[in-house]
Symmetry: C2
Subunit: 399 residues, 2 copies
């Protein structure tokens, strides 16, 4: 017996990262592979308190169906988060989603016919590419440098492709590269999107986790025609286990997202939304974020400094100003997938970078996460990784 599946299923592969994460759940593994926030910083006690309060005060509401758009007090709280990235909006501009991943799926559902083109940074977030693939688009990876997408390249691509439906970007501490877009590029992106009538999907899970320097306004801050769809999440500033994120967009576009939500799962968890709203009302999320930043900054410094000390000179890596990831570029003759096998033998895991390129190639790159391992593990893990790199280099020279 073999059932007949939709054509789109030929495109959808298991996420290499999620599969890798399964392999690396042994406790002896030092994992730089996932994008996990540090669990020891989760506000567990506070959540227990608000959880009890919500159930005591509004138990039956918390366990009942609620509106598709989301729990009103949480939508109000989300407008405050949007303010922090320079976006003024009303609660009606917010749809609560099950993580920002759901916003990615809906973006594909709403905008993409088969054969339409998605532009994204090269490299880009694997989970987004996988979500969009279900809607059978083609991908063009736009070359990037340390200031984000290269605007001349983007302009060229837009001029030569009239089936571009949206440009997908992660402007702050990008996953996987750790890079941040300059303000000039943000403004220019809006001009080009206006000119070519395409939407922009701005995915911003890490924007509030800036360790140094000044906050840049979100791309949506510069939006003049309501064509930027902003995806936010509580996963990185609060915790991912509750699965709560949001879409912020103008009325016409947001209505489409609400329709997608209705068909997909009716609504996000009523009780989780009430818990997070209550937490934001009763506790100081800004202080919590400050603490996250302090810890993550220290871990980043430790990882970067250990890499500087231990890695051979030919190995390049980014020094992100925030977020969870740094990006390593090996010499071109090296393959990060082979390195990953060697590293796993030494009980160290990371994600090879090739998967982050929608059109393939770049097998000499890899992504390292520094948020989820403690100081000692970061040092040991990077030292082991350095050994693996050096031994691979030696083998290549012999061959």
């Amino acid at each position: 017996m073999s059932l007949r599946y939709a054509k789109r299923m030929d495109n959808i592969k298991a996420s290499e990262i999620r599969e890798l994460l399964k392999l690396t759940q042994k406790p002896e593994i030092i994992s730089f592979a996932g994008g996990l926030p540090a669990p020891e910083l989760f506000p567990v006690e506070e959540l227990e308190k608000v959880s009890s309060k919500v159930l005591e005060e509004q138990g039956t509401t918390a366990l009942q169906y609620g509106p598709t758009e989301g729990y009103e007090p949480l939508r109000v709280e989300i407008t405050k988060r949007m303010e922090k990235v320079g976006v003024e909006c009303k609660p009606e501009d917010i749809l609560v989603t099950s993580g920002s991943q759901q916003g990615l799926d809906f973006s594909g559902k709403i905008f993409l016919n088969p054969g339409d083109i998605v532009l994204c940074e090269s490299p880009s977030y694997l989970g987004a590419i996988n979500a969009f693939k279900a809607y059978e688009p083609e991908f063009i990876g736009v070359p990037t440098d340390e200031n984000g997408m290269i605007m001349e390249e983007l302009e060229d691509i837009l001029k030569n492709n009239d089936r571009v439906r949206f440009i997908y970007v992660i402007p702050d501490f990008q996953n996987p590269s750790g890079r941040t877009w300059s303000i000039e590029r943000r403004k220019r992106l809006i001009e080009l999107a206006n000119e070519h009538n395409v939407a922009i999907i701005e995915d911003n899970p890490y924007g509030e986790l800036r360790f140094e320097g000044e906050y840049y306004p979100a791309i949506k801050h510069y939006d003049t025609e309501g064509r930027v769809i902003f995806l936010g999440t509580f996963s990185k500033i609060f915790c991912p286990g509750l699965r709560l994120g949001w879409v912020c967009a103008e009325e016409e576009v947001l209505n489409k997202f609400v329709l997608a939500k209705q068909g997909s799962d009716l609504q996000s968890s009523t009780i989780s939304q009430m818990q997070v709203a209550k937490f934001l009302e009763e506790y100081d999320i800004e202080a919590h974020i400050e603490n996250l930043k302090k810890v993550y900054k220290k871990r980043r410094d430790l990882m970067i400094n250990t890499m500087k000390e231990e890695f051979p000179e030919e190995i390049k890596f980014t020094n992100p100003e925030g977020g969870l990831f740094t990006w390593v570029v090996l010499p071109e003759y090296m393959n990060a997938r082979d390195l990953a096998v060697k590293a796993i033998e030494k009980n160290v895991a990371f994600v090879p970078g090739g998967s982050f390129f929608p059109n393939g190639g770049n097998e000499n790159t890899l992504r390292l996460n520094y948020s989820s391992m403690d100081d000692e593990k970061i040092v040991i893990g990077i030292k082991r990784l350095a050994e693996a790199i050096k031994s691979m280099m030696k083998e290549s020279q012999k061959a």
Copy 2:
């Protein structure tokens, strides 16, 4: 500015029920419109206790990312629920979803190319039709009688349409009709599906809420080739606010659902899954379900008996053996949408039945929910509805 949306968005309309529910949230309205479980029966205190326990004992795990497939102890508990409907399965056959609505969306995503055909009962669940519409199928509503789909009609349709990808059915206490499939029809459905190599989506949110008579085995119980995909949910036996449901299917098919889940929202809420698993371990869900059945049976009896007393003889309605709904058929010259306007004036709400027919028509039908209103409101509401019906009949006779 107008962005260009995917063609599929032309098909997707706001659910009439969800829109209606918004209008009927005024406290003075007696609503038979939604499909809401009785909130006063939610196990609020028990949930508060398990919630605290989960956070105290495994707080960091509960708030962290978890596996796409679902929390293992919950998958084990779900196999016990499947046993109750006569399906033996392993935890690996279960994917935890965000309500069974998400299983419907994934069914469309996995099986449907544009123009493929979905067969469903006529009438059928509006939320399923809306979910499938995103994948641009055509619908054929198969005629039904008091024992489910009429098998001769189904066979004819299968013989004459080679693009049928799946048959969508709600065999127990169907939404909206309240009807239950006979065992003979269940068996015959499997034979026909095998013969024509189509999948069956068995949506079973109410199966455990049988007030009288014996349980029928799920259609999946009779599945000989692994072509039945069973969708279950905790919404009706526990509470809907947590948004937890499941898919039970054979390995090959379930893998496709897991891929869909990964792209759509990575996973369902870790903490909610742990809470429900803990509840099922520590409390007696069977006793809870017995209590639900007792209350709902009483409300059904009250609604049916009041309708018998108050409605004119020409009005027909089903007497469901379980679930949440009864189905009313007015004389053909009457329109239930007009009646709904009249009823709302009397502060009574219901859902006109026309929307439940994928190919339209049947405007003289309506759906009544008896689970969410207390005894007094049921009697008052039905009396008011009877008045509205009688006054509309009089007007028609005059005209």
